[in-house]
Symmetry: C2
Subunit: 331 residues, 2 copies
Amino acid sequence: MTRRITAADIAEAAGVSRATVGFVLNNTPGQKISDGTRDRVLSAASRLGYRPHRAAQTLARGRSRLVLLVLPDWPLDHSMRQYLEEAAHTLDEAGYSLVTYTRHPGDQSRPLWESLDPDVVVGFGAFDTETVASLRASGITKIYPNPDHQPDEAAASSVTTGTCLQVEHLHGLGHRRLAFAGTTDPRLSSLKGQRLATARECARRLGLDDPAARDVDHRDDSATKAVAEWRAQGVTAVVAYNDDIAATVAGAALRAGLSVPGDLSVIGHDDSPLAAMFVPALSSVRMDTIGVGRHVAQEALHLADGRPAPGGAPDVAANLVPRESTATPRG
Amino acid sequence: MTRRITAADIAEAAGVSRATVGFVLNNTPGQKISDGTRDRVLSAASRLGYRPHRAAQTLARGRSRLVLLVLPDWPLDHSMRQYLEEAAHTLDEAGYSLVTYTRHPGDQSRPLWESLDPDVVVGFGAFDTETVASLRASGITKIYPNPDHQPDEAAASSVTTGTCLQVEHLHGLGHRRLAFAGTTDPRLSSLKGQRLATARECARRLGLDDPAARDVDHRDDSATKAVAEWRAQGVTAVVAYNDDIAATVAGAALRAGLSVPGDLSVIGHDDSPLAAMFVPALSSVRMDTIGVGRHVAQEALHLADGRPAPGGAPDVAANLVPRESTATPRG
DNA sequence: ACAGCCCACTAGCACGCGCAAGTTATAGTG
DNA sequence: CACTATAACTTGCGCGTGCTAGTGGGCTGT
């Protein structure tokens, strides 16, 4: 059990004062250090294997340089992991660390932000009022998205660009009557609402009928009912909230003896592995979440440091991935 | 911008010394505090909304009470999230916080354990030597699983109990020639190896032929080739590494004009949503990961605190979930 | 009455670091 | 030459807590 190397050890090894070590290591602005001294300190630090004590730094400067990202408790697919990676990387370059945290509904233990005191707390979509209250009570003032602002259009667009691609794809294939299949998961309802609205808007712009909307769950017969209803209404193609929902709809159609895409085209969203593995393989939309991750990280840095805000919406590249589950309508 | 409430504020409000406040708040063993004083301190603390400064505590006692869980970078499904939730909860009850971290292959930024100095770092499966070196260099000594020990039988069993269920299920249905479908993902290769070995062992015990093993990837034609080969060998049922692999195999069989389960039974593992949504719905095995999460948390506490080790293997409840993709073999 | 003892507390240092204020030596200026 | 300005440091305080080493007062026993 060897003692920890502190800045004082470096100071002694380099023959300077502790303060000088601090100035060199943080290259503190407004401090003149000669090259010789700087080198001596730096080499001593690396020779001794110095690592700053995070807690001591936090205590001394009053900021933890931690950004807490609060995740939804739904499964994290690959694109989400990329998002996290990019955000963590951007923050790391700025000297901050990203810590992720998932708050579960029935969780009575104190949330992590109470004990970690992060400089910034970032969420997916807006925080609910209860959470905001808990954050405020913990002394956290820097929150993104800002709970005092209305959710802005720009941010919303990043979440719905793919939906238009779905609609346009089906329109391009010649479909005229579309339906929208949503999820029953309450945690996703706000996102679902945005995507449904976008689908409506895009359909209108393309001169299509207003899509019939239904929520679907793979654990009951809601998909079977929805498919029957849609067939009766002359719907030939379904825009699904995500690939899981697309699979549920396609599955119900297949079990009802319909052909996919012959009788019903189905398109998913997110391009999860499931989309490629399903039979028939599901057409989908792949989102480039990396741009979003960087954007969010920059917003967090803006709040933490006061450095300039990225401004505008994150750039999301959405790409259509056509597969077997969509085709021109029969007849 | 109001000042933070410190223990000194409470001391003043309660008319006692700062030390007394500390004793009351941590109810330090071996310290006698009269009931009156205790009440005054406690009520002052709650009245002022005191929350201890984590960094200061960390600095003062030399331990951060943070447990860092290093996650693999594959997608986190629902059972994994449950695992995390349970581990976090168990740790929380003991006054520790769980922080998760994903290290990505191409990530050149410093790993989170360098800056967070957690008391314990916990991994999934064993850490590779490079990672262990990085941990050691960061002064982290408490690592689970212990890198100095050989992976023990008990831990391995928790990861393979489900595999036997798969084999037994197919055996019970009357299958005699099985195959094992693995993943090509190198990150999963060690786990795959364990499951394959288990499948072999269980097959042997049941008097079955040694299963033919093949790795399969949904992005190429490996599954198609594997299915053709297995058919030629008289294989009637496939044990898949997980549900994704099961879907890939089942998909290849369907595309080859075979019937599932008529010509080929397929069983997956993990009971992911995909299994339920696939057509035909995939039989699978559901693991109770909650028990494992608690076990791991207790191991971490054992390392952190010296409290008794849980001992033995975590209790994993594995349940068979029979669906449409498995049936008695034809003929 | 006085030592001895326990109870219920207090004084104060240590943890490792950031940073404001002070100090010394040297160069520059009228 | 006296004086100021600057470079290149050093001294030392403060961040909020945990915890060890006291400290005084009341009670008991002889």
